[in-house]
C-alpha cells in the first residue's frame, strides 16, 4: 500500500485530477491544496484496495513457458530444430547464439505470431495453438526491431494497451505513472510515437508491458539493444526485481556480459540446434577448455579461434 501512496505523491496536478475523477472524488472547490487532494486520493485508494492489491496475489503456472519438440522450417531452411525449453516463475533464462541461430524465430513462435512446423508451445499452462487468447494474456513480447504506430501519442498507446489487456483504469493510471517515471518518459507522454528516438520507443514498448499487472511471462528479443547505459541498468535491475517477485523471463541476446549479469540459466543455440544448456557452472563443466562465458559460447558455436 505504501508503494501506491508514494506513486500518488509523485503525481503532478493533471495526473492527480485524472485519478481523482476515476475514483469519483468530487472536485467541487475551484482551488484545492495539493496536499489535501493527495491525502483524499490516498484515502480513497486505501478503500479501493481494501482487500489487498490484486496483482500481488496472482501466481503463474509452475511451467510458465514450456516449449517441447519445437521445429520451424522456412521452405528448406530449418530455423529451429527440436527445441525443448522450460522457464519457471522466478527464473531468467538467456537464449544466446550467433546471428541466424534461430533466437528470433523461437520468440516469434512463443509470441503466437507464427505457428511451429512441429512441436508445441505452452504459456502459463495454455497451449498457444489451442487457447491463444489465454496464452497471450500473460505474455509480454519485445520485438527485435522495435516499432510502434507513429500516429499514436505515447499516452494513447499505453491506454490502448491497458484496455486490450483489461487492466482496470485506476490500476492502469497508477502503474503507468510508476513505470513512466522509472523509464523517464514523463516529458514524452503527449509526443507522437513517430517522433520518438529509438531508445525512447523501446522504453515506450517496455512501459506498455508493465502497465499490465505482474507477474509477467516475458519474451524479450535483444531488449538492451538501443537503450542508453542508464536505461539498460534500470532494465536489468527491473528484470531481476520482477524475477524475485515471481515473473518468468526469457531473453535473447548475443551480448554475453548482459546474459551473464542477469540470467540464471542459458540455452545456447547454433544454426537451429541447441548446443548447450544449463547454469554457468554446468556449462563450465561441460566444456573443459573454456573458462568464461565468452569462451563457452565460442567453443560451442564453432570453436575458440586461435589468437
Amino acid at each position: 500500500m505504501n508503494s501506491v501512496k508514494s506513486i500518488v505523491e509523485r503525481m503532478d496536478s493533471d495526473e492527480l485530477i485524472r485519478l481523482a475523477r476515476q475514483l469519483n472524488v468530487s472536485l467541487t472547490e475551484r482551488k484545492m491544496k495539493r496536499g489535501l487532494l493527495v491525502e483524499t486520493i490516498q484515502g480513497e485508494l486505501e478503500e479501493y484496495y481494501r482487500e489487498g492489491i490484486p496483482w500481488k496475489k496472482t501466481r503463474l503456472s509452475d511451467l510458465a513457458i514450456q516449449i517441447s519438440g519445437l521445429t520451424k522450417k522456412f521452405g528448406k531452411t530449418v530455423a529451429v530444430r527440436g527445441l525443448n525449453l522450460a522457464v519457471r516463475p522466478g527464473q531468467i533464462v538467456g537464449l544466446v547464439g550467433p546471428n541466424g541461430a534461430g533466437k528470433t524465430t523461437t520468440l516469434r513462435i512463443l509470441a503466437g505470431i507464427i505457428r511451429p512446423t512441429e512441436g508445441t508451445v505452452q504459456v502459463n499452462g495454455f497451449d498457444m495453438n489451442v487457447h491463444p487468447l489465454k496464452a497471450k494474456q500473460r505474455l509480454g513480447y519485445i520485438p527485435e526491431r522495435p516499432t510502434c504506430y507513429p500516429n499514436l501519442k505515447v499516452r494513447e498507446y499505453l491506454t490502448f494497451i491497458a484496455k486490450i489487456y483489461r487492466v482496470p483504469p485506476i490500476d492502469a493510471t497508477l502503474r503507468m505513472k510508476e513505470y513512466v517515471d522509472l523509464f523517464q518518459l514523463n516529458g514524452l507522454l503527449n509526443a507522437y510515437i513517430g517522433t520518438l528516438s529509438k531508445g525512447n520507443l523501446q522504453r515506450t514498448l517496455l512501459v506498455g508491458i508493465f502497465v499490465r499487472p505482474p507477474p509477467y511471462i516475458l519474451a524479450l528479443d535483444e531488449p538492451i539493444y538501443g537503450l542508453d547505459p542508464r536505461g539498460a541498468w534500470n532494465l536489468k535491475l527491473l528484470l531481476k526485481k520482477l524475477r524475485d517477485e515471481g515473473s518468468a523471463i526469457l531473453v535473447s541476446t548475443h551480448i554475453l556480459e548482459v546474459a551473464e549479469g542477469i540470467c540464471d540459466r542459458f540455452i545456447i543455440m547454433n544454426e537451429g540446434d541447441v548446443v548447450g544448456k544449463g547454469t554457468l557452472e554446468e556449462l563450465l563443466e561441460q566444456t573443459p577448455n573454456a573458462h568464461t562465458i565468452e569462451e563457452i559460447f565460442l567453443e560451442l558455436t564453432g570453436g575458440i579461434p586461435d589468437a
Binding site: R108, G112, P132, N151, E156, F160, R166, G194
Partner: protein, 527 residues
Amino acid sequence: MTANTISLLENEIRMLFNHLKRTITTPSMLLFYAIMLVGTYLVSSIIAILGSYEQLFVSVATMLEATIDRSMVMSALGLVSLSAVIGGYFGRGPSVELTETDEYIMMPMPARPYQLFLAKYIRRILRKLGFAFLALLVVLPLVFSSNLLPIPLGGLIVCFIVFMEINYFLGGISFQIRSRLDRRFKTPFRHFILLFLALAAYIPTLPQVTVHPISSLLVPSNAFAYIIMELTGIFAYGLGPLIGVICLFLGYPIVFLVVVNFVDQDYYERFALKTSNEGDESRISRMVRGEVDFSESRFNDPLMWVFLKDFWSKMRKPFQFWKYFYFCIGMAIALYLNIVRPTWLPPLIIPHGLSYAAVPAFLLVLILLTQVASVNALLSFVDEKENIYLLKSSPFKASDIVLAKYLLSLVEVTLTVVPIVGFLAYFMRVEGSFYLLTLVAPLVLIFSATGVMVGAYIPVFTNEPSDPPVPLAFGFPAINIGLGVLLMAILATYAENIQLVQIMPAFVVMVVLGLLALATFALRSYK
C-alpha cells in the same frame, strides 16, 4: 462485438484521425494538399471549358451499342471478379494490409485475428470513402459541363466501390480456402479447387447465362454491370437500377461475413512469412528474379552503379518479370494490329463533326495513360525504403543519384507506355491523332521527372521513406496533369506556328531540369 474489437477499432480510427490532424497542422503537408485539390479543381474546370463532352458521350454510347453487346459488358466485369479470385488464391489475401507494427504489437495481443481484420477493414473503408468524396468534389466542374447528374454519378461511384470491395473479399475467401487446404493436404491435386472457384465466379457471367435478364442478379459482377447499363442507358432494359443495387448491397455483407468468419491465424502467418524465400528454385528462375551479384560489375561510375543496382533489385520482384512479358506481348499485338489491320477488329472512327470535342478528350486520355505509367518513377525512391539513407550517405553526388533514378524511370515508363500508344494509334483515330501521339514523348520525359522529384521529397516529409504521405502521392498526378495541360495549351497557342519546334523542346528541357534540380535539392535536405 466484444470489448476488444471495439478497442481495436477505436484505436485504428484514432490513428486515422491523428494522422489527419498531423497532416493539416503541418504547413508543408497542408500546402501539398492545397496544391493537389485546388490544382485538380482548376484543371478539371479548364478541361470542362475546353470541350463540351455531352455530345461525345452520346455518340460514344451509340457507337458502343453498335459494336459490342450486353453480354460482353457482363463478361468483362466478370473477368474483374475472376481475376480477384485467382489473385487471392496466389496472393497474400487480406494480409497485404498488415504492417510490421501490427506484427509486433497486435499479433502477440490477446485478440483474435478476425478482430484485427475487422478493425483494419473498417478503417480502410472510412479512408476510401473520404478519398472518393474528395475526388468527386474536385471533378465537379467536369461533371456539370458534361450535363451528368451528380446524384446518379455519386451512386455509381458508391456502387463501384462496393463492387470492388466485394472483389477484395472474394480474393480473401479464395486466399483462406487455399491456406486451409495447404495445411490439410500435401498432394498437388489440392490446387484443382482453383478451377472450381474460377468456374463458380465466371460461368454466371457467360453470354449463354446472361441472355436471361434475371441472371443480372446472380453474381455481384452481373449486378454491377446491370446498374451501369441502367444508369447510362446503354443496353438498358429500362427496369431501373434499383434491383441491381439491392442485389449488390445484399452481396456485400454476405461476402464480408464469410471472410470475417474465415480469417484465422493464416492471416497473421502469411504476413509474418512474407519475406520467406524458399531456397528450392532453379537457376533460371533465380536469374529471372535477378539474384545476380551486381557489386562485382565492371562499372565504376556511380551513376551506372545506382542504375544497375536498381535494375537488378527490381528484377528480384516477381512482378517485374511480368512487366517485361507484358511489354513483349503488348508490342507484338500492337504491331500486328497496326500492320495487318485485321477487319474483324475495326478501330473506332469518330465522326468528323465531333472532332472539336474529341481532340481534347484524346489528349486527356493520353495524359492520363502516361500518368498511370509514370507511377514507376515515383516508386524509384520509395523502393529504396530505409536504404535511402544509406544511399544518401554514400560517396555519390546527389545529382548522380537523381540522374540514375531518372534514367531508370524513363526506361520503365517507356516500356509501359509504348504498347499502349500502339493500341491507341490503331483504335482511336481522331483528326491528327498520329501527330498528337508524338506528344507522349514530352509527357513521359516530364512525368518521370515529376515522379523522381516527388519520390525524392518523401523522406523530407516523413521518417518512413517506404510510405509516401497521401498529399505527396496525390500531388504527383495533380502536378502532372497541370503540366500536361500547360503543354497542351502551348500546343494550342502555337499550333500554326513553326516556332513550335523550338518552344516545345525548350519548355520540356526547362521543366525536366527544374524538377531534377528540385529532387537534388530534396536529397540534400533530409531530416
